[in-house]
């Protein structure tokens, strides 16, 4: 059994994902409210109420509690001298290996919510693929970017 990559992403990332879940649920509640109003106003069949309620409840449980938790537990990465290893996945666990010589460039991105928590995403691009490690502490992300770009020096072959 191969050892898992050692680093986990920031604990605050879990909070951010929960926040995303809350936002999604709030949007759903708004939609559900409209549907319920419509049901009341146009006298659609009453079971629509229960469907709307169940959808909101499910979204709340899954996207606020369960999915972020599993996702956060699964998310691991490791930057070694010659390659980057990433593991993630909710239902299907993916492990990806990216050799340093293949790395073309590294980006960090930060949206308003991530900024609030001083987090950032880091995207590693090869010629053909892009791999993103989400929700790293900004300093760590900057350090990682610098380190990867240092390690990913000259590629011997084209592309």
């Amino acid at each position: 059994m191969r050892a898992e990559p050692i680093h986990q992403i920031s604990r605050k990332g879990l909070t951010v994902w929960r926040l995303y879940g809350v936002i999604q649920t709030v949007l759903l509640v708004i939609v559900a409210a409209f549907v319920c109003y419509g049901t009341y106003y146009f006298e659609w069949p009453p079971f629509i109420y229960s469907i709307a309620g169940v959808v909101v409840l499910l979204s709340a449980i899954l996207s606020v509690y369960l999915f972020p938790k599993i996702r956060w537990e699964r998310w691991r990465y490791e930057v070694r001298e010659h390659e980057i290893e990433v593991q993630h996945g909710l239902f299907v666990v993916k492990r990806t290996l990216i050799p340093m010589v293949r790395v073309q460039h590294v980006d960090t991105t930060q949206g308003p919510i991530l900024k609030r928590y001083n987090l950032g995403n880091i995207s590693i691009s090869t010629a053909a693929t892009v791999h993103t490690i989400p929700a790293l502490i900004m300093d760590e992300a900057d350090g990682l970017r610098a380190r990867i770009s240092e390690l990913a020096r000259v590629a011997e072959d084209d592309v």
Partner: protein
């Protein structure tokens, strides 16, 4: 260094114009048809104004296209300097583009019908960065001699870099040294016919017919047709079947003709580390592809061809637009006996192992190949059995069929690691074998679902650069230990 400035052939103005006009035909045709041909130049007619407006706009656009073509031809110049191909064009906004010779991925020659009348070629210069399937530089029409000059310049520039000691020698006007160019593959008429008849081109033709029919939907009197049809049905199912057969036959025939025209005289040659592919009957195409730019090689055998021992060999190469727009999948050998192709490939790429011994997917992984299909299969079977009661039950046959297909897929799934080479084999319907070099692989990914984890199997994906994006090979459900071996092998 000859800093002579070259121009395009005047015919290029016509070609550019015709191309612009051609792109206008469809919208104009749609407008005319949707108007129901209600045009009239009679001043008193109520359609007069529309007609004048339409033809005015159209004529204006045509004139603009012509002017554009002429301007492009007059202003377009190219020359060679400092080991670069330099291009300049534009009337008000001058555009310049310099391309170093070493960066040129491929040099494609194209001879359309217009070109052949005047002995011209269209040259497309591609680099790895060509965006959206467009070549970096397109010389619309130049004389064949001029096209040869480009290649000569390229070769000279490369020699200059390699052996800067003897500059005078290379500067000598080396007059088109006749290199013996070995042909490594030529498609015989028999193979061409087999290719044409077994290719899946019929789908393309059918969808083309549908597209055309839907364009004309406004003028087809559906109701009348429907009445006709209901009479027709009364005559008998046999006649309908016959008609359908006829349509299919015609479509198939057309697709055969298209393939024949496209692949006529298909030849692959090799010339100093470059593959040169020529083909075409009406429009002659020539594609140049440096060997060291090839990222991976794929052998595709569809079931019919596998049975008869034929295969298609596709090369994946980075960047550029290849033969059709966005994707850079060049069929190196569109149709070849599997046995011969391995031999030829071994000559071309002597470092690779062309007779791999595969490690297959373990037996306990077999259910993974068909189990997931039941998710969509069961509702379909349920629905069709219920709604189309007696005949719908036939859909139950799908179950053994999927299982058989799954077993077949399971039998095909395998991989081999040999030194610096990774070979994968798998199938959906066609058997696909991908040969990749370790240094060409961009990333390797292993995935494992919850169920796979219980059975200790893992799926493996490897991506190489191909065209604009990548090409991913995917072997499902290998032994977990094997998948981990691949990961460890791929590590530095």
């Amino acid at each position: 260094m000859s800093n002579e400035i070259y121009r395009l052939h005047p015919v290029s103005a016509i070609i550019t114009t015709v191309k612009a006009l051609k792109s206008m035909i469809l919208p104009v045709a749609i407008i005319i048809i949707s108007n129901g041909f209600n045009f009239s130049f009679n001043f008193h007619s109520e359609h007069f104004f529309e007609t004048v407006l339409l033809f005015g706009v159209w004529g204006g656009a045509a004139v603009l296209a012509l002017v554009g073509g002429i301007v492009k031809w007059r202003t377009f110049v190219y020359w060679f300097e400092d080991g670069e191909l330099r291009v300049k064009y534009g009337l008000f906004v001058k555009k310049k583009r310099y391309i170093p010779f070493e960066r040129i991925q491929s040099l494609n020659y194209n001879e359309g019908i217009f070109h052949r009348l005047f002995g011209l070629v269209k040259v497309q210069v591609e680099t790895a960065g060509s965006k959206g399937g467009k070549p970096e530089v397109e010389l619309t029409a130049i004389r064949k001699v001029a096209a040869d000059v480009i290649e000569l310049e390229m070769r000279q520039a490369k020699n200059r870099i390699e052996q800067q000691i003897d500059v005078e020698q290379t500067l000598e006007p080396t007059p088109m040294e006749e290199v013996i160019v070995p042909t490594i593959y030529h498609m015989s008429i028999r193979d061409l016919l087999v290719l044409a008849t077994t290719s899946g081109g019929i789908g393309v033709v059918l969808s083309g017919i549908v597209a055309v029919v839907s364009q004309f939907s406004d003028i087809i009197p559906y109701e009348a047709v429907f009445h006709e049809l209901s009479d027709f049905v009364k005559v008998g199912a046999f006649l309908i079947a016959l008609t359908v057969m006829l349509i299919l036959l015609v479509a198939w025939f057309v697709s055969v003709i298209i393939t024949l025209v496209n692949y006529y005289d298909y030849t692959v040659r090799i010339e100093d580390e470059k593959l040169i592919i020529t083909k075409g009957l009406l429009e002659k195409k020539r594609i140049t592809l440096p060997l060291n730019r090839i990222q991976a090689i794929r052998i595709v055998e569809n079931p019919l061809r596998q049975l008869t021992g034929f295969a298609t060999v596709v090369v994946e190469s980075a960047g550029g637009n290849g033969e059709k727009g966005g994707d850079k999948k060049i069929a190196l050998f569109p149709l070849i006996k599997k046995h011969d192709c391995l031999q030829t490939l071994a000559e071309l790429f002597p470092d690779m192992n062309w007779h791999p011994e595969y490690t297959r997917s373990p037996k306990r992984a077999r259910p993974f190949f068909y189990r997931i299909d039941f998710i969509w299969l069961v509702p379909i079977i349920g629905a069709s059995s219920y709604f189309l009661y007696p005949y719908g039950l036939l859909s139950l046959l799908l179950i053994p069929l999927t299982i058989l297909l799954g077993i077949w897929q399971h039998k095909t799934a395998g991989y081999m690691i040999d030194g610096k080479q990774f070979t994968m084999q798998y199938r959906l319907f066609s058997r696909i074998t991908i040969y990749m070099e370790k240094k060409r692989i961009q990333s390797v990914e292993c995935t494992q679902s919850y169920f796979q984890k219980r059975k200790k199997v893992m799926s493996v994906k490897a991506t190489v650069m191909s065209g604009m994006t990548g090409m991913t090979g995917n072997v499902p459900s290998l032994e977990q230990r094997d998948a981990e071996t691949i990961l460890s092998w791929y590590e530095y």
